[in-house]
Amino acid sequence: MSAPTTGPIGAPGPAGRGQATGGDRLARFAPSAARRRRDRFARASILAGTVIALVPLALIVYYLLSKGLSSWSVSFFTTDPTGSTFFGGSSIGGIKSAILGTIEIVALASAIAVPLGVGVAIWLVEYGRSGWFAQLVRFFVDVLTGVPSIVFGLFVYIVLVVGTGSTYAGYKGSIALSLLMLPIVIRSAEVVLLLVPGALRESALALGVPRWRVIFSVVLPTALPGMLTGVLLAVARAAGETAPLLFTAAATLKTNFNLGGFMNSLPVQIYKDVTSATTSVEHRAWGAALTLVVMILLLNLVARLIARRSRLA
């Protein structure tokens, strides 16, 4: 496709104006060897950085699978952890109470956080908009986003444990988790609600439909998939949190369906096993960690699929 190019393209040199050889034609424009080196080096470094970013993921996945899978068994999922830490897997029990506890606690937390969060988001988008109060609310939601998770535990502890003189309970852990979920739900719901085209609202309003109806029959259904994504992300986040549960839900070994009493949970169980002095439960910790990660990944996957199918923008 080309005329043969003679002469070194890379070497900068005086170009003969009247010469016909193609190669020299561009010679004086060509980047110097040093520039080329810098370009190659920079690109290689960037690629190296990217690979480095991916290495931990590979290692985590590998170790979770290799150490976690081996402790998975039917009994692993169907027996409660015993308190014993003797060597020998069968006597330490499984993680049944932890899984059930996580499901319950997170379910209650979601039941609290989602309606409240969506409500605040609706208010922000439909009513508050850019008023001073709305700015204030947004500011506080932002504040809430940055609060360390252990501080949520402290909050609930102060109000519900110290304040009432009662002790740890599953539902108190749920409340702490719902505080954690609240800003995520509000933020993501707000984002999605803002994407619903204003024209949609206006045409409904122009038909004489009352505002509340417009919200419930037009705006919310349109925004639903996106909000679901946000909710699932918040749930995935809450499921993995340990700190808020440390001094609210407490952990117990037995399966306990009563949210009013102590309740085990996966993150807390893992934490206890990791920090215990004996190595026999390390194995169980890996298995429990794998379980937790699989649960969270499933939630993320569903969230991503829903996000992909909803094309609001």
Partner: protein, 283 residues
């Protein structure tokens, strides 16, 4: 406002890119000239869709050639193939030859970076680097190959003079480039392109975002610049083509319909489609 230099004689005599610079005279060899550009069977694709469908065209050295045609006819695409910017778009590719004098810029051993330095480009919307001062904007190109302060200063000044902007900005070279007016920003971009001493400058509707006064200034500039470089200008404004271009090419639907001296194209075109376009029957 001080008048800009209207002849290159008033420009900085230290111009490195010229061995001699006398306006209007045909310089004797070896004097600086722009290069001619020849397109041979150029085709350009976006994915599977062919936008430029086999064009043979020559842009003569040291002349201004205008490309006119209705929107979507492929003029910008074609021009972007000349400095190989077209392939920057994902999925886009080009076939055929683009010859700078006798060198095919699509040749296998040709460095695209060198091509882009030899063939400069001025874009539709003025786009000075927002985080840089006026000086740094113009110096950006030369700085890539030499960081010597002395060299840079000389190059920046001569480029700004050649772009007709020096008098207006000489005392505020450190101010942000984005703080200038639209017309000044575009001249800044032209200076930026000139600073790397290209042989050809491609202009893609350079005045469409500017007011009439700024447009006029740039058209005067084009007239001076053609003694140093070959200029290809894409324009949808036929009056502009009539004002600045030596030759004009009319494109329609990815193909070249006709090319000739500007006067002829606008008064006695050969092809009936050209006549329809220039008399405003469509486009």
């Amino acid at each position: 406002m001080t008048p800009e230099p209207t002849t290159p004689e008033m420009a900085d005599p230290d111009l490195e890119i010229r061995t001699e610079a006398k306006p209007g005279t045909r310089p004797s060899a070896p004097a600086k000239r722009g290069l001619s550009v020849k397109l041979e069977q150029l085709r350009a694709f976006y994915g599977a869709s062919e936008q430029v469908k086999g064009i043979d065209l020559e842009f003569r050295a040291n002349e201004v050639t205008a490309i006119i045609g209705p929107s979507g006819c492929g003029k910008s695409t074609m021009v972007r193939c000349i400095n190989r910017m077209h392939e920057e778009i994902p999925g886009a590719r080009a076939e055929g030859r683009v010859l700078l004098e006798d060198l095919d810029v699509y040749g296998p051993s040709v460095d695209v970076v060198a091509v882009r330095r030899a063939v400069g480009m001025v874009f539709q919307k003025p786009n000075p680097f927002p985080t840089m001062s006026i000086f740094d904007n113009v110096a950006a190109g030369p700085r890539l190959s030499s960081r010597r302060r002395g060299d840079l200063r000389a190059k920046v000044e001569s480029a700004l003079r050649n772009a007709g902007l020096w008098d207006e900005v000489a005392d505020r070279l450190d101010e942000p480039g984005a703080g200038l007016s639209g017309g000044q920003q575009q001249r800044l971009c032209i200076a930026r392109s000139l600073a790397v001493e290209p042989e050809v400058i491609l202009m893609d509707e350079p005045c469409s975002a500017l007011d009439p006064v700024a447009t006029l200034k740039i058209e005067e500039l084009i007239d001076e610049l053609k003694t140093r470089v070959t200029i290809v200008i894409v324009t949808h404004n036929m009056q502009q083509a009539a004002r600045v271009a030596d030759r004009t090419a009319f494109m329609l639907d990815g193909k070249l319909v006709e090319i000739g001296p500007t006067q002829e194209i606008f008064t006695k075109p050969n092809d009936p489609r050209t006549e329809e376009y220039v008399t405003g029957k469509f486009g």
